[in-house]
């Protein structure tokens, strides 16, 4: 009985005691009413679910319908951008997006995985662990535009990096750290305890256990998390606009150069579009291309896990 009280819902479930039993006819009426309500609810839930499905199809459909033919033209993807003429391409923006994602991942993966290992293998439930947990929760809730103006003040101005890929990568590292950390922690925690116990029993130290047993087994999950965050970085614009830049003519080669990721460039086309006669075509094509890149990355994330798993040969 004690456990029943704890449940907290049982009082609402308990049927009310009736003073007099309703007649069979009355009972039948109530029962058919309940069946009708059940039917109606099922129909409504189905309708909402189908509406959501239609919404997703609409979003993908309209973006691709408007931009796919542009996005699949080689002269658009690999072409030079134009300011006053029509027919410009987006190659520098494509490079910027991937460059920024690579640079950010280079910073955020070691930090995120390190933090995840610390939290699951070493921290326990002490004060440090609680502090880190709070920091990660709060950081993941900070709006990206706040990260943007923070990065502008700290990395662009105080550290003197200027609008640059590096300033953007540092900003996005902070923005993505909580999510990378969480997915890596989940991967590390999914490694069975018996694996660790076996390694420790063989005389491995904690770190050797992590390096030789926990990390290899957790690798598929960590890879998935990393690729998913690459998708988020490529799609991010609010944190990038005031740290990396909106528009470039040439392909950036150094991390200290300004660049223009696709997501930020779409915003540029929207606000300063008058400078480019065919801005609508460029922005539509860029939006479609960006959407395809993100969808492919999400698909890759799923595939990568099974590829890595096959390579390492571990099962969890």
């Amino acid at each position: 009985m004690a456990t029943r009280e704890k449940v907290g819902v049982s009082t609402e479930v308990r049927p009310k005691l009736r003073e007099e039993t309703p007649s069979p006819k009355e009972r039948g009426k109530r029962r058919s009413g309940q069946f009708l309500a059940d039917r109606a609810a099922t129909v409504v839930i189905w309708a909402f679910a189908l509406l959501a499905l239609a919404l997703v199809a609409l979003v993908l459909g309209v973006i691709l319908w408007n931009g796919l033919s542009t996005a699949l033209t080689p002269s658009f993807v690999f072409g030079k951008p134009q300011a006053m003429r029509e027919g410009g391409g987006i190659w520098p923006m494509v490079v910027s997006s991937f460059y920024l994602a690579a640079l950010t991942l280079l910073l955020v993966i070691p930090l995120g995985v390190g933090a995840a290992i610390y939290m699951s293998e070493f921290a326990g439930e002490g004060r440090v662990a609680r502090l880190v947990r709070f920091g990660a929760d709060s950081l993941s809730a900070v709006p990206s535009v706040v990260f943007g103006i923070f990065g502008m003040v700290v990395f662009v101005i105080y550290l003197g990096l200027g609008y640059s890929l590096l300033a953007g990568a540092l900003t996005l590292t902070l923005l993505n750290l909580p999510t990378v950390m969480r997915s890596a922690e989940e991967a590390v925690k999914s490694v069975p305890k018996s694996y660790r116990e076996a390694a420790l029993a063989m005389g491995c130290t904690r770190w050797e256990t992590v390096k030789k047993v926990v990390l290899p087994v957790a690798m598929p999950g960590i890879t998935t998390g990393a690729i998913l965050s690459a998708g988020r970085i490529v799609g991010e614009s609010a944190a990038v606009i005031y740290t990396v830049g909106l528009f470039v003519r040439k392909v950036p080669w150094s991390p200290f150069q300004p660049a223009a990721p696709m997501a930020a460039n779409i915003w540029h086309m929207y606000t300063e579009g008058a400078l480019v006669p065919d801005w609508f075509r460029v922005a539509s094509g860029e939006a479609a291309f960006l959407l395809i890149v993100v969808l492919v990355l999400n698909l890759l994330a799923r595939l990568a896990a099974s590829v890595v798993r096959r390579k390492t040969g571990y099962r969890t």
């Binding site: 909402f48 679910a49 070691p110 923070f150 902070l174 770190w207 939006a287």
Partner: protein
């Protein structure tokens, strides 16, 4: 000896990587406060929280934008929550096994769509559509709410789905065995049992809506006055920061940072709220 000291070194290094989030958060808070101090000193809180934004005459009121943020968030949740909740119920209780994969894949795809792409969709399709139906400018609270609803659906669906799945199946079995219909079971047993998780999902969705910038910026305005209707242009805190940070200096720039600080506080308050809710959930006794 060497192995012990290496263990120590590794442990400390890993701790440093874990502390990056804490230091990062502290830095974000510090710089937001530092950069917004001039605004508080020179313009004063009464000016900052007034309803007039007119930097040329020294008026830096953010009330219009705060109201914009709150109304668009409320609108987005109002439209998005029923959809997300039905979707979560569908995925956990109603859907046949075969179609479950399709629907949950679709939600994942929606979660991955970049906000700028959704904004572009809003700008190219939703705003012209609202314009043609209502005869107004088309951009405003209504368009922003619809776009935000699309954005919060994946978040709320995913988290409330987890909450619904965590309800022990014996609850549903007991209810069905007593002769309750599926809807009675959902409404009287499963939803009440998962209520804290669902609440946490809605709060996290709220956080996403409050902080959303690009998608809202393309459909909201721009105008720095209170909207007169659901389809008249206005601004939110995030979009105002985005639009003006590039070309502002002095007190105006600092007051934009003050808006960032307000956003930061809103976000932190929601985090604290979620932690409260999930703590209450743990004490309920059946989760884990």
């Amino acid at each position: 000896m060497t192995s012990i000291s290496r263990e120590w070194l590794v442990r400390k290094t890993l701790m440093v990587t874990a502390m990056v989030v804490v230091v990062g958060l502290a830095l974000v808070v510090f710089f937001m406060v530092k950069e917004s101090l001039p605004a508080f000193r020179k313009a004063g809180p009464a000016n900052l929280f007034s309803a007039t934004w007119n930097p040329r005459e020294g008026r830096y009121g953010m009330l219009v934008f705060l109201v914009g943020t709150l109304t668009t968030t409320a609108g987005g949740l109002l439209l998005g929550t029923p959809l997300a909740l039905s979707l979560a119920l569908f995925l956990t209780q109603v859907a046949p096994r075969r179609s479950r994969g399709l629907f949950s894949r679709a939600v994942e795809v929606l979660a991955g769509v970049p906000s700028i792409v959704l904004g572009w969709l809003g700008f190219t399709m939703l705003v012209p559509w609202i314009r043609s139906v209502t005869g107004s400018s088309g951009s405003g609270i209504l368009a922003a709410s619809i776009i935000l609803a699309v954005m919060v659906v994946p978040t709320i669906t995913a988290i409330s789905r987890d909450a619904l799945e965590a309800v022990p199946s014996s609850y549903a079995q007991a209810s069905l065995a007593l002769g309750a219909t599926r809807w009675q079971t959902i409404f009287r047993v499963i939803l009440p049992a998962a209520r804290h998780g669902i609440l946490a999902a809605v709060i996290l969705g709220m956080g996403r809506a409050v902080g959303e910038t690009m998608a809202v910026a393309m459909v909201i305005g721009p105008a720095s006055v209170f909207p007169t209707s659901l389809t008249s242009p206005t601004h939110t805190l995030t979009t105002k920061i985005l639009m003006e940070m590039g070309e502002s200096t002095g007190v105006q720039r600092s007051s934009l940072f003050a808006m960032g600080l307000v956003l930061l506080f809103l976000a932190m308050a929601l985090v604290v709220l979620v932690r409260r809710v999930s703590k209450a959930r743990r004490y309920e006794g059946w989760v884990e």
